[in-house]
Amino acid sequence: MFDWLQHFSDWLIYTIFEIGAETHLGIALNFFVYDTLKILILLFFIVFIMGIVNAYFPIEKLKDYLNKKKLYGLEYFFSSIFGAITPFCSCSSVPLFIGFVQGGIPLGVTFSFLITSPLVNEVAVAMFLGMFGIKATLIYAISGILLGTIGGWLLGKFNLEPLLSDWVKSILANKMQQAAYIEESQTFSQRLPEISRSAWDIVRGVLLYVVIGIAIGAAMHGYVPENFFNQYLGGGEWWTVPLAVFVAVPMYANAAGIVPVIQVFVAKGVPLGTAIAFMMATVGLSIPEATLLKKVMSLKLITIFFGVVTLCIILSGYLFNVIL
């Protein structure tokens, strides 16, 4: 599918820049051009497709669906899927949380959404597709959705409502008036240019991270010895998965920058399961997110939330290492 891109990279580096195909520099630059362009193309298409999906299923509709349909226990699963298809923006997590809870959706179901939304986002999926291929991407996306489902269900078992912040409790007590809203009446063809424009905006926004991530990855490819990680992380010792996850939770790395680096880890001997767990912990949980959630949850609730999700990620890391 990307053969033409490989030809282009060969032509650009070997013919135009006249850097030899046998030199380290030539190989590294070729890799860099090919990977960067491939990722950017994938990114644009996936964000574009998600934009179309979103035009048809805006968040309000999804919320109403969860609210009105009897789903017989499947609501956690649906909520998790909705989280995956909704584009994630950390600054929307608080309004989303309140909107859901206020709409009468149980806290556990809301958590399912909140867990999966950053975990399975279009940027992470595109990067995974570009660096690991379709199989690993499917495993990542499906396990992310299952993790949100199980995590939300588990959190729903606790009695967590008293742990919401006073502000949220008062919102729940006095139902607020919905401000007037004019339904958007644009047709699909009117929206298409706008969807492609915002897809381009997102690609432009992460461009720098992609370039830096791939550059670091390319450099590591050359300089980190072949079995370096094997000695420390790759040996499959039981503590390697929790270690990878605990290192990753506070990190706030852009998925665009972290995946190329993880790819090198895997190439140098770290098991894919450990790498996926690391990735999930990096994009799924972070200090800035905790700070935002502080407005709606008590510290205790945030701790429980992060604890349950961390545990789920560690367990799925073990599971992947066993089955992959």
């Binding site: 600054c91 929307s92 608080v94 909107g99 607020m176 401000a179 706008e194």
Partner: protein, 78 residues
């Protein structure tokens, strides 16, 4: 009559680009309007929006969760 425009958003990149678009449209077309950025989450939630940024014109929510094009904003303000 002066239009009252409010931009709801906690300061994420999308909210900033929405502010940019709205300001440009107003300047280019000489529209009589005031812009207020609402960045406090508690204030934002009074409008009951679930996705930011949101554009509020004379207390009516017109756009939420995305950055509009200039033409769209112009149509909304006319």
């Amino acid at each position: 009559m002066t239009k009252v425009i409010k931009i709801l958003g906690t300061g994420c990149p999308k909210c900033q680009s929405m502010t940019g678009v709205v300001k440009e449209v107003i300047a280019e077309n000489g529209i009589d309007a005031s812009i207020e950025k609402v960045e406090d989450v508690m204030e934002i939630m009074k409008f009951n929006v679930m996705t930011t940024p949101a554009l509020v014109v004379d207390n009516v929510i017109t756009i939420k969760g995305r950055v509009p094009s200039k033409k769209e904003v112009l149509d909304l303000l006319n």
